[in-house]
């Protein structure tokens, strides 16, 4: 419990630093949100200044930052310049879809990648191993855009099994999750293989075999648990990345999600949305890191003693 609390407290300066970076960094980049928003409209400079004043964009930067921070601490992430609705509401609309895609994609990635890596390690340097590593390499190089469209053509148009796009039930989640999952599975497969090979070469494994344990019990009962630490680390990082939103897959499959919302906000210089979304994602990543730490302790009791 103490460890958990100290982790959470340690996240506060990290979040503060990120808030400062995002806030001031966005304002240093070229472009003005009012100019972008009003684009080709026939407005005078005075009319644009009026809009800037209404949005509070003409106040000193430090005042704007303190205002943002104070409101954020009270759960108010401001109002979107573009949409004119609270950023919190925008995030609440989009976050569930991103989270379900992230979890589903990681589930596919772990199941497919983990199993493939295990098999590759078990049959090291044989045909199965080489074949799996070739597929893993293809998966690493494959653009998600292209894979997603291929899956739509095959499963939606040719077979008619799944919808082409949209959000909703489980049906709509399968193809986008599979697209992302296959790509992430490639990394997990390679990592699982190398981690398992290392563990399988250790003395305690030789001892277990010498004691007469079945190969399955040696691999699944003993080696796997020891090999999981780096896989859990990478899995946690990938999950954090996915929570930022898989923009390309969201676009291809017309899914709700934080990714596209954030990209559009960056292009529109919609500061409140950018700040709010990044803070939200950072909080999620902090929690995921905490979860990963707890998993470490479950997987390897030696870590508790450090």
């Amino acid at each position: 419990m103490q460890r958990v609390l100290s982790r959470l407290l340690g996240a506060i300066p990290v979040l503060l630093g990120i808030a400062v970076l995002v806030f001031f960094g966005m304002r240093l980049t070229p472009g003005d949100p009012v100019d972008i928003m009003t684009g080709q409209m026939d407005l005078s400079a005075e009319q644009r200044d009026q809009i800037r004043h209404q949005l509070g964009l003409d106040r000193p930067l430090v005042v704007q930052f303190v205002d943002f921070l104070w409101k954020a601490l009270h759960g108010d992430l401001g109002t979107s310049i573009r949409y004119r609705i609270p950023v919190t509401e925008l995030i609440l609309f989009q976050a569930p879809s991103t989270m379900e895609l992230a979890v589903a994609a990681m589930t596919f990635a772990v199941l497919i990648g983990g199993s493939a890596g295990l098999v590759a390690a078990f049959f090291q340097n044989r045909i199965a191993d080489h074949a799996i590593m070739v597929f893993a390499l293809i998966g690493l190089c494959m653009p998600s855009f292209w894979l997603g469209l291929l899956l739509i053509i095959f499963f939606s148009l040719r077979l008619g099994w799944l919808p082409t796009s949209g959000s909703g039930g489980l049906d709509y989640l399968v193809l986008p999750a599979f697209t992302l999952g296959l790509i992430y599975a490639a990394t997990i497969a390679r990592l699982t293989r190398s981690s398992m090979i290392e563990v399988l070469g250790q003395d305690f494994i030789r001892t277990a075999r010498a004691k007469g344990l079945s190969e399955r019990k040696v691999v699944l009962g003993h080696a796997l648990k020891n090999a999981l630490i780096p896989i859990v680390t990478v899995g946690g990082l990938q999950l954090g990345y996915l929570l930022g939103g898989a923009v390309i897959v969201e676009n291809v499959f017309a899914r709700q999600g934080l990714g596209n919302m954030t990209v559009n906000a960056i292009l529109d210089k919609d500061y409140p949305v950018i700040q709010g979304t990044i803070l939200f994602v950072c909080v999620c990543i902090v929690l995921i890191n905490l979860l990963v730490d707890l998993l470490y302790m479950l997987l390897d009791p030696r870590i508790k003693e450090v």
């Binding site: 972008i36 407005l43 949209g166």
Partner: protein
């Protein structure tokens, strides 16, 4: 801890339960009715009769016709209520706001045209002004007062009646700084006051003449329920209330906008089918990726899609889908040439670019021949198109381009790029990363290279691009277009010296004659005079080679073969009121 057998049992239980639950569901149950039916039958019976004239009694078989009652079991199957007629439309991007009096974008109009009405409409077939919520209108001789007679049978979706007071409430809302209205405020910039003359008669008073006011009203000034706007506040953009043929039920961002038919709708413009829509439910789905949008149509998940990638048009036509392409009115896609930056400050160089560009190649190579090439800054759907032909001075003629450059002293260097006094003929094209202009830029670069011009292409974030256009950096060439009704004010702003370094005179043109024409245009009340002035400006712009028009922007919508009745508005959005499914 789960053992294998327990886990297997659990999985089996889940599978069986899922199957049972999936199988269970409300299904219509047959109803048994008992009826009594009378039937006429012939019966043969034995009767005891007396033989005539004797006391003898005999039995005789007699056939009689009798009515017999019998109970019959009749089974009546309960049929479900008829399904609502649903139209599903896939569009290219998510709307940002459904408040037409805020800061809507082009995609927003797609939805707003189904939810709101205008005082006046532009008939897409004739481009003439026709009545809608206003039955007639009058402009005073001095052009400062517009009087509208209104329909007396219109209600907003929330039941609020539409009348003269609601028109004044609308203008008040548009001009209220709290609304942050941009489009409408620009179009009502000289609006002074709104006067209620009667329950269905209203007058607008202007401080200065606005010759394009009626066209602007018909293009982007919708009537909203200000009662609902006041009640909902900022949430009005998500759940707007108008008087149009469809009512917004819900908007789930990036999922859909769900609308239902307005059953009371009876005030459509003359080009609508009469009465309410035949579509009961309209679902608008944003599907950003063009390939996915086409896949959704082919898979039958949507009935109509907009913004169709050109490479699919031919195959969709072959598959029997209905393809409708309409050029967008306004200014076609062009590149502007900065007259304040070397070497595009030279007329000879600018004109050489005009001759060097093969406009047809853009349409053919990049867009599968769908959009028409453009030789003047007015699209074929624009009211100014016919007159704009007078300003088509340049056709593809690379030899003429070379001749002009050589006359100006630009000789071909060793690497094929022209030079003069040791200076290469180089220029910079800047494009925003959201403009899909990378491929056209590369084609333009290749065409200019053929005549010895070295044009670099730099893609940048939209914000940075606007900053450079505003004077933060140097550039020679930039892409631009304008879709929709081009008001006098907007046309002037592209060439007037007051707008250099701001919107939209990014060519940096500073000419007293052009300024004079623009100033006269914005106050010209006579349509012929306005046409003449606009055309003079256009021809001057083309003579000076300020713009290089390239191709029209075409909006293509594709629908299932049985979807009929789609009307394209003047802004090339689809109006869905009159859509029906052909049997």
């Amino acid at each position: 801890m789960f053992t294998r057998s327990k886990l297997g049992f659990l999985i089996a239980l889940v599978l069986i339960s899922s199957t049972v639950l999936a199988a269970c569901g409300p299904t219509p149950q047959p109803e048994v009715v008992e009826k009594v039916v009378t039937e006429v039958v012939k019966e043969t019976i034995k009767e005891t009769v007396v033989v005539e004239g004797t006391p003898e009694l005999v039995e005789k078989e007699v056939t009689k016709i009798v009515e017999v009652e019998k109970e019959v079991e009749v089974v009546v199957t309960v049929t479900p209520e008829s399904e609502p007629v649903k139209l599903v439309v896939g569009i290219g991007s998510e709307p940002t706001s459904l408040d037409p009096q805020g800061r809507p974008s082009a995609t927003d109009w797609w939805v707003m045209d189904q939810v709101f009405d205008y005082l006046i409409r532009l008939d897409p077939a004739t481009m003439e002004l026709v009545p809608q919520l206003a039955t007639s209108w009058e402009v005073s001789e001095d052009g400062l007062t517009y009087t509208f007679e209104l329909r007396d049978d219109v209600t907003f979706h929330d039941g609020t009646p539409f009348n003269a007071e609601s028109v004044c409430a609308n203008t008040e809302r548009i001009l209220d700084p709290e609304t942050e209205s941009a489009w409408a405020a620009a179009d009502l910039s000289t609006f002074e006051s709104c006067e209620v003359l009667g329950e269905y008669e209203v007058a607008w008073h202007l401080s200065e003449v606005m010759p394009d006011l009626l066209q602007a009203l018909a293009s982007r000034v919708w009537m909203v329920s200000t009662t609902a706007a006041d009640e909902l506040g900022p949430l009005f953009i998500m759940k707007p209330v108008g008087s149009g043929p469809f009512i917004v039920e819900e908007w789930i961002p990036r999922k859909h906008i769900l609308l239902k038919k307005n059953p009371d709708y009876n005030w459509g413009p003359s080009f609508y089918a009469p009465g309410p829509s035949q579509i009961d439910v309209l679902e608008i789905r944003p599907i950003p990726e063009g390939e996915t949008r086409v896949a959704a149509l082919v898979a039958g998940e949507v009935d109509l899609i907009a913004y169709v990638p050109e490479q699919h048009v031919a195959s969709l036509t072959e598959q029997g889908f209905t393809v409708d392409s309409l050029g967008m009115p306004g200014i076609p896609r062009f590149v502007g040439l900065n007259v304040q930056e070397f070497p595009t400050d030279e007329l000879a160089v600018r004109q050489a670019i005009e001759y060097a560009v093969d406009r047809k190649a853009f349409a053919d190579a990049l867009y599968h021949g769908v959009p028409s090439p453009a030789y003047a800054p007015a699209s074929s759907q624009d009211p100014n198109y016919d007159r704009s032909k007078e300003c088509e001075f340049y056709k593809h003629d690379p030899e003429k381009a070379i001749e002009l450059l050589e006359e100006a002293g630009w000789a071909v260097g060793d690497d094929g790029i022209r030079e003069r006094d040791g200076v290469r003929l180089e220029m910079a094209l800047i494009i925003p990363d959201t403009s899909h202009w990378m491929q056209p830029s590369e084609l333009l670069q290749a065409q200019l290279r053929e005549v010895g011009i070295d044009m670099s292409v730099t893609e940048m974030a939209r914000g940075a691009w606007y900053d450079i256009l505003g004077g933060a950096g140097s550039y020679n060439v930039y892409p631009w277009f304008f879709s929709g009704f081009v008001s006098a004010g907007i046309w002037r702003s592209h060439f007037h010296s007051d707008y250099i370094g701001t919107y939209s005179n990014f060519v940096g043109f500073d000419d007293a004659e052009m300024d004079r024409l623009g100033n006269e245009l914005v106050v010209a009340t006579n349509p012929d005079e306005a046409d003449r002035l606009r055309n003079e400006m256009m021809c001057m712009a083309m003579e000076q080679a300020l713009w290089v028009p390239i191709h029209e922007i075409v909006n293509t919508a594709v629908a299932k073969p049985n979807v009929k009745g789609v009307i394209f508005a003047h802004n090339s959005n689809a109006l869905l009121h009159s859509v029906y499914f052909e049997e």
